[in-house]
């Protein structure tokens, strides 16, 4: 009887493990040069310079999604290294790029292009971004006062900023 119950429990657990769960297969890119590196400014300049090459709404979507991902990873690394001021800036850039994405898909849709694959990709990206931001919400303090050596202190409402970023991602899901 005992063996029977153990068998039933294992079977049920196995069946549950086979059920589809919400998880993102989306892979985030390597962030490239980080602030402090001599080539960081060059990398930022190249990011901007490449924009005209991405003409067309789907190309532009790919460009802005690439930057949203890159800046999010940059923000994550900077948060982990407690470089909060720089991290907040990178997160703001990622948010800005991410908010542009649905607009390009709408534009492509108006041109009678089937954007179903891109919509799916955007949902996966939003899910992955959200996952990272929620991890950071747990790890980081609610606020942080950044006090540089030679200038005035800045209060960083980390929790609010991260929450706002999560909301931006949630809006596309």
């Amino acid at each position: 009887m005992k063996r029977f119950f153990v068998g039933v429990i294992i079977s049920v657990l196995y069946c549950f493990s086979m059920l589809p769960t919400v998880r993102a297969d989306y892979v985030l890119p390597y962030p490239g040069f980080m602030p402090g590196n001599k080539l960081y400014k060059v990398s930022r300049f190249l990011d901007k310079a490449k924009e005209p090459l991405y003409f067309g709404p789907l190309s532009a979507y790919k460009y802005h999604l690439g930057l949203a991902d890159k800046y999010l990873v940059e923000a994550k690394v900077l948060f982990e290294y407690k470089q909060y001021l720089l991290a907040v800036d990178a997160l703001a850039r990622s948010d800005k790029e991410f908010t542009m994405l649905p607009r390009y898909l709408v534009q492509a849709g108006k041109q009678r292009k089937d954007v179903s694959l891109f919509e799916q990709q955007l949902s996966e990206a939003a899910l992955m971004h959200k996952q990272i931001l929620e991890e950071l919400l747990v790890q980081l303090p609610d606020t942080f006062t950044w006090t540089p050596e030679k200038s005035a202190a800045t209060l960083l409402p980390l929790k609010d900023l991260l929450q706002s970023s999560v909301t931006i991602r949630s809006n596309v899901l």
Binding site: L53, Y54, F55, G56, P57, L58, S59, K62, Y63, Q111, R112, K113, D114, S116, L117, F118
Partner: protein, 383 residues
Amino acid sequence: MTTLSKIFMIGALLVLMIFSFGFKDPHLELFSYPPVVEMLTVLTAFVYGQPFAASVVYGAIVTALFCGYAIIMATYKASRPKAFPRWIVSLIALAVFSFPALSYDVFNYILTAKMTFYYQENPYIVMPIEIPNEPMLAYTRAANKVALYGPSWIALTSFPYIVGRTSVTAAIFSFKAFVALFYCALVYMIYRKTKRWDQAMFFALNPLIILEGLVSGHNDPVMMALAVAGLLLWHRASTHYKVAGIVLFTASVLVKGATIALLPLFIFSSWTWEKKIVWGYWLMFGIFLLSPLREELYPWYATWWLTFASFVPIRKNSFIHAFSFAVCVGLMLGYLPWIATREYGGITPAIRTMLTVVPPVMYVLYYFRHYFINRKRYYKKRA
């Protein structure tokens, strides 16, 4: 003899024009006129349903084309025509109005042009497959790749795309006619430089050039026409011509990239034209042999070195011309196993390699045997 060769070539191309439509993808609707649709159904049923018989027909066409070509090249001096043989125009027309049976690349060119000029997306960033409602995806190969060719090719395709934008059928023939223009430009340049029609005909009537350039509509004649025009202008004294030559050569490199190998011909300006064309031949042949490192040895890449072979003066027992002929025979026979099996895997690649390699190897063995026998005779005489 000339009449016989004409019958061989025009007859073979006439059969090919009809037979080629049998290779049409079942998802592709070319015509709506019921009798034509009926005829195409019969042809596709033959090609897809009787692959071995189809390979026999293809083999017969290729044999007739090469026989006709060999007869013309062998008897040319005897008949000595002073003017351009006008029947070649009908030959070009037959080839242009054939279906691109042996390759789907022309559909790839059309779809890339459509991505750029219709969808207005960067074809180097967005793949055709990413727009699932695009009707051409049903029969276009390599739709899961971004643009495979350089920016000058994409810019040039705006012309045939605009002409043929009404339907796929119009687009296929406008792209093929566009390539045919560059083929004609190459034939003209060969004649203009060599002042010999046999040199021009060596290129114009070569079955590989006809099948790969005019029937399949590959863009290699475009790349080579730009490169040769660049080289000819570079040879002129005026700076304006030299600049135009560099611009055309750059445009050629930006079609496919292979002509970058011709850069030494522009750098070593002290080289004579004769030296340059022989070097051009072997440089392009080298790139042709290296091409399997990237993908595989495609028959249409032979256009690269055949162009230069056409500038090399044709003499009796000319190694370059006879060797080129043998390589072309091998490359065109290489399609046989694919048509017979309709498979890219299995034994197809092995038989294909064998059929491709045997003719040139046999010729090289024959050439060296002949060479050593002659040398022996020469030394015997001297002794």
